[in-house]
């Protein structure tokens, strides 16, 4: 369960990109480099509900740290997943709960993707990750 780009890298890159095309090109790139979830994990039990595209999530606790793997059939959603994983992956449950995702997405000017009315399910994904962390904290 690897991470494609670190949060620091993502932050730096976003700072350099001023127009929407470049930002989306980067999100799409992140999406392309996100490792695929093995097919056997793409089952109903792992689906994150509330997304227009399909999103799957699996997790395990390793040495006290939560490791997540997510995938989607939509490329932009995969890019957003890469950002979520950079922020929330490979952390203890308590650390996951301490991250302020709202302000991160605000900073990246991606806030509107977190709004619950958006079909991409980013808000649902973050909620699901936090639920898992809460159970294990």
């Amino acid at each position: 369960m690897s991470q494609v780009a670190s949060l620091a890298e993502i932050r730096e890159t976003f700072e350099l990109l001023s127009d929407w095309e470049d930002r989306y090109r980067y999100i799409i790139e992140l999406g392309k480099s996100l490792p695929n979830l093995p097919e056997e994990h793409k089952v109903n039990a792992n689906i994150v509900h509330g997304c227009q595209s399909q999103v799957w999530i699996v997790h395990r606790l390793e040495n006290g740290k939560l490791e997540f793997a997510l995938d989607s059939d939509a490329l932009i959603v995969r890019g957003l997943i890469a950002i979520v994983l950079a922020a929330l992956g490979h952390r203890t449950p308590a650390e996951v709960l301490a991250v302020d995702m709202d302000s991160l997405f605000d900073e990246l000017a991606l806030k509107r993707h977190l709004s619950p009315t958006r079909g991409n399910g980013l808000a649902a994904m973050v909620r699901r990750i936090r639920d898992i962390a809460r159970r294990l904290a």
């Binding site: 929407w20 095309e21 090109r25 595209s53 059939d73 939509a74 490329l75 079909g119």
Partner: protein
Amino acid sequence: MSHATNITALRSDFPILAERVNGQPLTYLDSAATTQKPAAVIAAIADYYRHDNANVHRAAHALADRATAAFEEARRKVQKLLGAQRAHEIIFTRGTTESINLVAQSHGGHRLRAGDEILVTELEHHSNIVPWQLVAARKGAKVLAVRVTANGEIDLDDLDSKIGERTRIVAVGHASNALGTINPVDEIVRRAHDAGAVVLIDGAQATAHLDIDVAALDVDFYAISGHKAYGPTGIGALYGKESLLESMPPWQGGGEMIETVTIEHTTFNRLPFKFEAGTPHIAGAIGFGAAIDYLAAIDAQALANHEATLLRLVTDRLAQTEGVRLIGTARDKVSIVSFLLDGQHPHDVATLLDQQGVAVRSGHHCAMPLMQRLGIPGTVRASLGLYNSPADVDRLVRAVEKTRALLT
């Protein structure tokens, strides 16, 4: 009355079209979800609240008279729009969905027996499937679906093979919201009546585009939404044949729909009030009436030509765009095009179009059985209204090209 023939000039009647989104001028291509509203409709709603607001059919004061007169006048406008013979055959509802639920619960609940069949099609919106499933489960009836061909047309041979002596209700859309297909409703009504079934037509996507004449169609029920035809949300109507509506039990109970009430027994009001429990959406009905007036003032032939020209243009331009695959190529269509871009997810495409100011819909369009039938997860849908122009089509096509470059 002189009818507006210059359709292009009508765009300026819609204040919202001057909005900018994501820093871009708005190209609104999601009219099948809901149309934008002309200033006349917005003004009619505001004027009602400013000058005439009161509850209808009750109080003996001047405002109540005005509100009631305006509300009932709106009913007559809907009657005229649909070609109904009697105003009391028009029931105000929240929209198409509520109209269909009313028929399913009241007529279906009253008439259906175990083993009876309700026939829908694979083209239907969930609103014309799920209400039938609910009543079917309650009554032990069955919902069957007529097949749709690969180009998105109802397979009439399959209709013939599925319609039979157990068929009680045939429920079919006038035009498909997902693909735009215009269905041969007159033919379907004829075949259903030959088999002794009652027919409901979901007219949600027809109202803004097609001439509707329920009397000539001889259809039993016709369901519409105001907001799909330049009117406000929250208001719609059900047309029902008088004899059928008379035979149906009330659906919801409350004020307005009663004649006398004792704790033991209630007698019900006459049509249409029997089916309009509670305070209705008075402002909505008046706004809907204003939308009907607005449409009536436009030359119907000029409007049809305008939309047909745009549909041909958007279809041809998209067909020539690399990577685009059109979904739904029926011969007769309202101004809706569905498409896929290479192997890209419709949601990705719609997100990038939105960044360019182009508002489209992506997904299954509340027609999951149709998507399953076509073997696709969904589509990108551009749907056009009277205010769209060739420039909008051009912006869409350019935005699709840019989207493709970004995604591949």
